[in-house]
């Protein structure tokens, strides 16, 4: 049933392949989390400024992406993304064939999903910061950039960290879905290995342990960060 000898490193086992797959999962998670946070900041900004059109677009985006299964979003971006990019390139006068690699497409797809969750977290964190803080900063004569980076930013971060930790866990688990695009991360590696060795249980249990390891340790990391950031409050 469970064949330990298939998991050794080197040519006889799949140990090193799984190590690289795990690194790929971590890479995709970090990249899409970062890109997702950037998208989320834009979304929050669009929701909070008093402009009806941007708010409508941002609300439409978060509602639709959160109401549709992640797998559909990934399929849509993976199969439909290339044609969209090619038609954009056509506008600029380029008629050749463009194909983005699986890593780029996967990262963009996961970032799109992760951004909707992050934006809710960031919006709540922004609204949780006391407005008196901004007024106090203005009274001290700080300009807008200084207010954002020295007053609002650190406090938003403190309020947002627990939520960001949750989004990170979701993002990490969602990366298993981009195995459908052929990117060799943990899940794809599992399917390849179990097809070759005819022993799905071994590799699926390995995959489960790898994900469990990743989520547990990143969870611990976020706990430490949270403690660090709320030092002034306990």
């Amino acid at each position: 049933m469970f064949k330990f000898e298939k998991l050794v490193f080197g040519d006889l086992g799949w140990g090193d392949e799984f190590l690289f797959a795990t690194l790929m999962t971590i890479t995709v998670s970090i990249l899409s989390m970062g890109l997702g946070l950037c998208l989320a900041i834009i979304t929050v900004w669009a929701k909070l400024i008093s402009n009806k059109i941007t708010r409508l677009i941002a609300n439409f985006y978060t509602t639709v992406v959160r109401g549709v299964p992640e797998l559909l979003v990934i399929y849509l971006i993976f199969f439909g993304g290339n044609s969209v990019i090619m038609s954009i390139a056509k506008l600029f006068g380029y008629n050749g064939y463009i194909e983005l690699n699986a890593l780029t497409i996967g990262t963009i797809a996961i970032a799109f999903i992760s951004a909707t969750y992050s934006s809710e977290v960031l919006r709540a964190a922004y609204l949780a910061v006391n407005k008196g803080q901004v007024e106090a900063a203005k009274a001290l004569g700080l300009n807008k950039i200084q207010i954002f980076f020295r007053v609002m930013g650190p406090q938003i971060l403190r309020h947002a960290l627990p939520g960001i930790g949750n989004v990170w866990q979701i993002t990490l688990k969602d990366t298993s879905l981009i195995s459908v695009t052929g990117l060799v991360e943990i899940m794809r590696q599992t399917r390849i290995a179990s097809n070759v060795e005819h022993s799905p249980l071994t590799f699926l249990v390995t995959a489960a342990f790898l994900y469990l390891f990743l989520t547990t340790f990143s969870g611990k990391f976020f706990k430490v960060l949270e403690l660090n950031y709320s030092k002034g409050y306990n």
Partner: protein, 237 residues
């Protein structure tokens, strides 16, 4: 009128929409079994999680830890491909269920929702104040009565919004069962894409249906919240 029907028949999106709609029953079947079973099991597991018996609460805690720490896709694959490769399961009666992708999907979805749901209910049960339990005890309720008349009504009311969230996540999670060759809406959309080479139309048609399902789910949860929180209703006078 003739013009409209002609236009719709030529529209790829509309034809896809009808085709995906035929898979709606398969999606709903997954939900109809896994959601009620998951709800009842979540309640039982939540009670076990807060029980004073260390063995029971630790076992359930580690179950929740494992399920919440791994992706649903891994769980579905483990049940569909993993259990099928074990010799004694293939020879036992379980094989009649586990060889069907449908029952594998139901099993995986139930296992998944029970882990999340019981954690949500645990929060609700622990938020019931001690005074309320003591007043129940002083009225002579036994444990079952206490659960039924005091703890569950208070706890369930409190966790309705977060359990509603979990229900929506479950609607979305059914799409993953398509990866085990089960033909629900996402699987059909995938098939249409392979047939017509028009990915955008196929997946948008499925996306609209999922959005509609989730919209209904949100309305259902809103109705429940309205029904079970009469003290929060804005009076119409």
């Amino acid at each position: 009128m003739q013009y409209i029907t002609d236009y719709l028949n030529q529209s790829l999106l509309f034809r896809n929409f009808i085709e995906v709609l035929l898979g709606l029953d398969n999606t709903l079947l997954l939900l109809i079994i896994s959601l009620p079973v998951g709800f009842i099991l979540s309640l039982i597991f939540a009670i076990g999680r807060v029980s004073e018996n260390k063995l029971i609460s630790k076992t359930i805690a580690s179950y929740i830890f494992v399920i919440r720490g791994t992706p649903l896709l891994v769980q579905i694959y483990l049940i569909y491909f993993g259990l099928g490769s074990v010799e004694f399961i293939r020879e036992s009666f379980l094989w009649y269920l586990l060889r069907e992708p449908f029952w594998c999907g139901v099993l995986a979805l139930t296992i998944n929702t029970v882990a999340y749901g019981s954690e949500i209910f645990r929060g609700g049960i622990q938020s019931v104040t001690k005074g309320q339990i003591e007043s129940g005890l002083s009225l002579g309720f036994n444990k079952l009565m206490l659960l039924r008349k005091v703890i569950f009504p208070i706890a369930l009311r409190k966790v309705l919004p977060s359990y509603g969230n979990e229900l929506i996540l479950m609607v979305k999670a059914t799409s993953l069962v398509s990866l085990t060759t089960y033909m629900e809406m996402t699987g059909i959309a995938r098939k249409i894409m392979a047939k017509t080479f028009a990915p955008v139309e196929a997946f948008i048609a499925a996306g609209i249906l999922y959005l509609f399902l989730n919209f209904l789910m949100v309305q259902f949860v809103k109705y429940l919240e309205w029904k079970y929180n009469p003290h929060l209703r804005v009076s119409q006078t």
